[in-house]
């Protein structure tokens, strides 16, 4: 219980009141800071807010914005919503799987890329779309994807 938490967590405890309602907001900050929700942070929040670990785990696994594993430097999201799907977004997703050897929800061993499928981003007019760290690439093709990946891999 007397575990030492890092500066970030300590700062969080100063910023927020120990009120159960603050859980999601604090999880957001944790996700933002570490790129995922580490177990130590879950435990810290559990002690601080008086919420059981199982409940926090339940919240983290419910919302897709939270992840339990460290995320890649680049988060590749392919829209599989109706419009994008009809326009062939599955091919984009398959191409990423083929090139990076990771499945949906996984991260490359070098920590560079995380792949996820998502639903509509509200850019159906640009279908099919994929995003890189939230930046939208519209009217996507496999060739266009390859160019983007090549570019990112240079970094």
């Amino acid at each position: 219980m007397e575990k030492k938490y890092d500066e970030f967590m300590q700062g969080l405890f100063k910023e927020y009141k120990p009120d159960k309602d603050n859980l999601i907001q604090m999880l957001n900050e944790v996700q933002e800071h570490y790129g995922y929700v580490p177990r130590d942070a879950q435990e810290a929040l559990s002690n601080f807010l008086g919420i059981s670990m199982a409940e926090i785990y339940g919240v983290v696994t419910f919302y897709s914005r939270f992840s339990l594993e460290p995320q890649g430097k680049y988060k590749l999201s392919v829209c599989l919503g109706t419009a994008c799907y009809v326009k062939g977004s599955q091919k984009i997703l398959d191409r990423i799987v083929e090139r990076l050897h990771i499945k949906e929800g996984e991260t490359t061993p070098d920590g560079m890329f995380t792949l996820e499928a998502m639903r509509c981003v509200g850019a159906c007019g640009l279908a099919p779309v994929f995003t890189v760290n939230g930046e939208v690439y519209g009217k996507a093709t496999v060739q266009k994807l390859d160019q983007v990946l090549d570019e990112l891999m240079k970094n």
């Binding site: 059981s52 670990m53 199982a54 409940e55 339940g58 696994t61 419910f62 897709s64």
Partner: protein
């Protein structure tokens, strides 16, 4: 207060109900049953399962009766063809993702889902598709979680979170993957569960149950080389009959003893005798602490879920716990030492079994501290009341027709004080009876401490013991236990002696007792009925104070020496250790 009542019509019947009553409650109070699945009175009304849907005139679609309040002039129909069809569809959908192994399921015959499928004549499951497939968690000595049988009613989650305020389990994931999970879906053995087993009592299906240890026991009973000695906890006799369709709260002591003999146990003893030892040691410890300035308040230590709770959550308060072992552990320790010696038996060939209303006792018996100096466990096997009933059925014993018989001498005698150990407040009352006689040096007649009786979660009283005011607290349910521990921790505790039981109401409604359906729990107070059986045993007992038990007197004189003495400490006391809440690495 007639004018405050709301008038509505349910199935053509005019019904009056208090404001804010749900349609479900109003209907049931009027004698109209509505089927439920996720509803559990006072614990869970989430409106999740949709079994309790009804039609309300003027409203579109179906109304979920467990979460909808009555309104003036409301016209409700609980049983229209549309309602019945919809309920069938609900069942169909639940069953489409259920492992249908009813034949071999531990809850077959006492499963709320099975009962509803039968009631609604579900003959064929129309929907087929993907089914959940989870690994069964049977790593803990107490509890088995089989999520493949779970219907996500969340009654267990509500029990753990709201009644006990532990929250070892909660709903995780989303959509089809939703499941009741521990943190990181670890074994219940590796998280902050206390093994109170209240989740089992609230589960409508076979998703949660005790870790059975019947097979091992049959093998020992059938082994001619082994002397198998059984003892039964106070609360078992107040619950066992229900498994044979006897009314709730029937005292079946005599038939139970006969059944145990018929099952082939070599000796049948009473944990109540152990409880009398516990009182001797605990009352003595309390007097020592009070007169010699020991750590106060002192709390009882009979409940293994409570002990695990303190070890995990309040390790710095461990000195407040009495060092006494629980009654069946004390008794087991004596069986393998005193009794073995007296009867000329090799302790290694004695197999001790405790029938308990509890699943935490399965964990307790295998604690390292519960081994004697020869490395033998005080108790070799713990079975629940339910498991005993299953064994009796398996042996084809007609329970109701059994003659009554008595526990065996010389270790089968017990007092009324011991019988009430199974009820919240009972240990306190038993201890006070002995403490007042010990302190005054005479036999005090006033022995009923009514202030510590009843179902309240926390009972506070000041009792006069030998001219001295003793402030006592009795708490049951871990939510209440936590409140008391917070008082102690913050220095606000102004009392001397605390009794705690993890299950709300005490062992009579423990996690190993017969499981009552949500419907029965809505209609009767199971705790009260079973408790009454134990108080009656006490009232009818000739001996009602532990220290008057002749078995104790003899064993202290011949073997143990003084209460709290060296030998008593070696056999009857234990110690506790800080325990990590989570073992995740």
């Amino acid at each position: 207060m007639e004018e405050n009542l709301i008038t509505l019509t349910i199935d053509g019947k005019t019904v009056k109900a208090k404001p804010n009553t749900t349609i479900l409650t109003a209907a049931r109070e009027a004698g109209i049953d509505i089927p439920t699945l996720c509803f559990l009175k006072d614990i869970n009304n989430a409106g999740d399962c949709r079994m309790c849907i009804v039609e309300v005139e003027g409203r579109r679609g179906f109304t979920t009766s467990c979460i909808t309040a009555v309104a003036e002039g409301m016209v409700v129909h609980t049983n229209t063809p549309a309602v019945i069809e919809a309920r069938k569809t609900v069942l169909d959908l639940i069953l489409s993702n259920h492992h249908e192994d009813c034949l071999t399921c531990i809850r077959s015959g006492n499963c709320e889902l099975q009962a509803l499928a039968r009631k609604y004549n579900v003959r064929k499951i129309r929907y087929t598709g993907e089914k959940i497939d989870h690994e069964v968690d049977d790593k803990s000595p107490s509890l088995v979680r089989d999520f493949n049988k779970c219907i996500l009613c969340k009654r267990c989650v509500a029990t753990c979170k709201k009644v006990q305020e532990i929250g070892a389990i909660d709903v995780a994931e989303r959509g089809f993957s939703s499941c009741v999970s521990t943190v990181e879906n670890r074994s219940i053995n590796d998280v902050d569960c206390t093994f109170c087993g209240q989740c089992i009592e609230s589960c409508p299906t076979g998703a949660l149950h005790e870790k059975e240890s019947i097979d091992e026991l049959w093998a020992k009973i059938r082994d001619p080389e082994t002397t198998v000695i059984v003892q039964t906890a106070p609360a078992v006799r107040a619950g066992l009959g229900e498994e044979f369709d006897l009314p709730i709260g029937t005292n079946v002591t005599g038939k139970m003893v006969s059944a145990l003999k018929a099952l082939g146990f070599d000796k049948v003893f009473d944990t109540n005798t152990g409880a009398d030892f516990t009182i001797m040691e605990e009352a003595n410890e309390f007097i020592e602490r009070i007169t010699k300035g020991g750590v106060l308040p002192m709390t009882t230590s009979c409940c293994p879920a409570w002990i695990k709770f303190v070890e995990m959550n309040y390790p710095e308060q461990i000195p407040h716990l009495s060092s006494c072992k629980s009654p069946h552990q004390m008794f087991g320790a004596l069986l393998k030492t005193y009794y073995a010696e007296k009867e000329g038996l090799d302790p290694k060939k004695i197999y001790t079994v405790s029938v308990m209303p509890c699943v935490a006792k399965k964990f307790e018996r295998q604690r390292e501290e519960m081994k004697n100096k020869d490395g033998l466990y005080d108790v070799d096997n713990v079975i629940t009341t339910r498991e005993l009933a299953r064994m009796i059925k398996e042996a084809n014993i007609d329970f109701e027709k059994l003659e009554e018989s008595q526990f065996e001498d010389p270790m089968g005698e017990a007092t009324g004080a011991a019988a009430i150990f199974g009820v919240t407040g009972g240990v306190m009352e038993a201890a006070l009876r002995t403490a007042q006689d010990t302190l005054t040096g005479k036999s005090v007649d006033a022995i009923e401490f009514k202030d510590v009786r009843g179902g309240a979660g926390i009972k506070r009283a000041t009792v006069n013991v030998a001219g001295k005011d003793v402030r006592v607290v009795v708490a049951s349910g871990l939510k209440n236990a936590r409140k008391i521990m917070e008082e102690i921790k913050s220095g606000k505790a102004d009392y001397d002696f605390v009794e705690i039981m993890a299950c709300p109401g005490g062992c009579v409604v423990g996690g190993g007792q017969p499981i009552k359906s949500s419907k029965i729990r809505s209609e009767v107070d199971v705790r009260e009925l079973r408790s009454a059986a134990l108080y009656t045993i006490d009232e009818k007992s000739t001996l009602r104070k532990s220290h008057e038990n002749p078995v104790l007197k003899k064993i202290y004189a011949d073997y143990l020496g003084e209460a709290g003495g060296h030998k008593a400490h070696e056999l009857l006391h234990t110690h506790y250790e800080k325990r990590e809440k989570y073992n995740l690495d």
